[in-house]
Symmetry: C2
Subunit: 298 residues, 2 copies
């Protein structure tokens, strides 16, 4: 990574947090302590339960309790036990609280207006496009890829979502039992590898490697959640699997895929996989690919 690039990122961080940060100190203009204002805003027009509030704002339970009590004393919020779980309390804003919420919301709106208002229409469009790009790529950079046990909860979430998607997309539907197996124990080192991609702790993709011979491996279970597509996650999963395969001494990787999965096919072609004759009898496979001469990256 170049020095110059890092410098630019740091500059951006400073500039943006200063420019937006200062304006975002909307809460401070409310004439109300930051903590209280944050809680009030987070309760929102629809109300919220205290457990969620605590998680979202990551506050100490005692502290939050006190803040809520203070809002209640000021007639801004009321609380009652939640229907489902008698331990949890459900907080709602009173009419007075809603009024305050709207004032805070208006403040945030004003910030947005004050950023856009001085610009001409063309500049405005460029700013919005660049903002979207930055946001998207920061999301991409927050994705972490890690090997996990294929039996772990996160892995299971991914595999189930993967099967559900295949069921929807294949013209014939999809029954895991009829497909070529990749049992959990086949995807644990040294027989294989199972990777999960996570965004903010939530699993959003997976990919697996199954070792089939001294030099031969197979790619399985490549999937990315629809909400996280376009972030380059599949490419990173594939890179990591190939890297691991190369380190394990494998020289050839194979995989099969269905005609309806066109993004996947494009990914494989882009990465140097070439179509070969069927190497298995998977009823769901329409294309078989192979890549030879894997190389370890630095």
């Amino acid at each position: 990574m170049e020095e110059k690039q890092l410098k630019q990122v740091r500059h951006f961080n400073r500039a943006v947090t200063r420019r937006i940060g200062v304006l975002t100190d909307n809460y401070l203009g409310s004439g109300r302590p930051l903590g209280e204002a944050r809680v009030l805003f987070e309760i929102g027009m629809d109300g919220a339960n205290v457990r969620d509030l605590r998680a979202r704002l990551s506050l100490d339970s005692g502290y939050l309790s006190r803040l809520l009590r203070s809002l209640e004393r000021q007639g801004l919020a009321t609380s009652q036990p939640d229907g489902d779980d008698g331990r949890v309390r459900w907080v709602t804003l009173t009419p007075k609280g809603r009024k305050e919420w709207k004032a805070l919301d208006r403040g945030a709106q004003d910030v947005a207006v004050s950023l856009l208002a001085p610009l001409g229409e063309r500049q405005r469009e460029r700013l919005l496009a660049a903002m979207e790009e930055v946001e998207r790529l920061l999301r991409a950079s927050a994705v972490a890829i890690e090997p996990v046990d294929p039996g772990s909860a996160d892995a299971q979430v991914c595999i189930e979502a993967y099967f559900r998607e295949l069921e929807e997309r294949f013209e014939t539907g999809f029954d895991p039992a009829r497909s070529i197996s990749a049992a959990p124990e086949e995807l644990v080192p040294p027989a294989g590898l199972f990777l999960v991609a996570r965004l903010d702790g939530q699993p959003v993709g997976c990919g697996a490697l199954k070792v089939k011979g001294r030099r031969l491996g197979e790619i399985k279970r490549m999937w990315v959640a629809p909400s996280a597509r376009g972030l380059g996650i599949a490419q990173r999963l594939l890179d990591a699997l190939e890297q691991h395969a190369a380190e394990a001494g494998l020289g050839i990787l194979q995989l099969d895929t269905n005609r309806t999965l066109s993004e996947a096919r494009a990914l494989y072609v882009r990465n140097g996989y070439v179509e070969i004759a069927a190497y298995n009898t998977n009823p769901y496979a329409d294309h078989w690919f192979e890549k030879r001469g894997l190389r370890r990256r630095k």
Copy 2:
């Protein structure tokens, strides 16, 4: 301004301040109160004088004094009277303080690395380009344009910088006395108007309107600081002057310019000014322009 655009800006603000903000809480990881860490970092490797520190961090003088004392007590900084001004104190970091500074700097560097590291080279380049664009446009949106008295300090700063630049750029040099006059009193309503553009309080551009007849006006003193070019400031100044001229009932605007000022000429042409015969004997003018049929904008 569209609802959708505002929503997108708010989303960006939340997402970016969260993502970067959390990481930027570098200071908090230093095991040192935020205030102290900020001051220590701001003193920097080269030292700083207390007056500047106070301005940069906008801290109460008493508070800052106490923070500095605390840093001194911990053996992180030392201070002595400044050479130039006996009232001001000059603070320097001790070797121990420099070590802490480096740790903070490394933290900020790590943030930048952690943002870029997970991305591929192409994504990295796109992120940096988008960051640059956002930064540039946020800077543009922070520029405020206001009418001021042409005799005010900010106006003078601009005019002097403008003359200095003409002196440099014109092949013949530039002597204000030989140029066609625009005395301060001619640029005050209702005889005229003088606008200053400011970025973070600093004047970075100006433009003036001189009323020459019942329907005729002239554009003068169009200038933007080199450091603030590319932000669309000249366009905004021109828009504001035309708007004011239209409201004052003027139907024709004229202006003269020198052949070396090509950006200016492009600006005028882009805005519908057409070249006309010389309407004055300004020795520094090579081109004369005119725009008819001004219209008030909404």
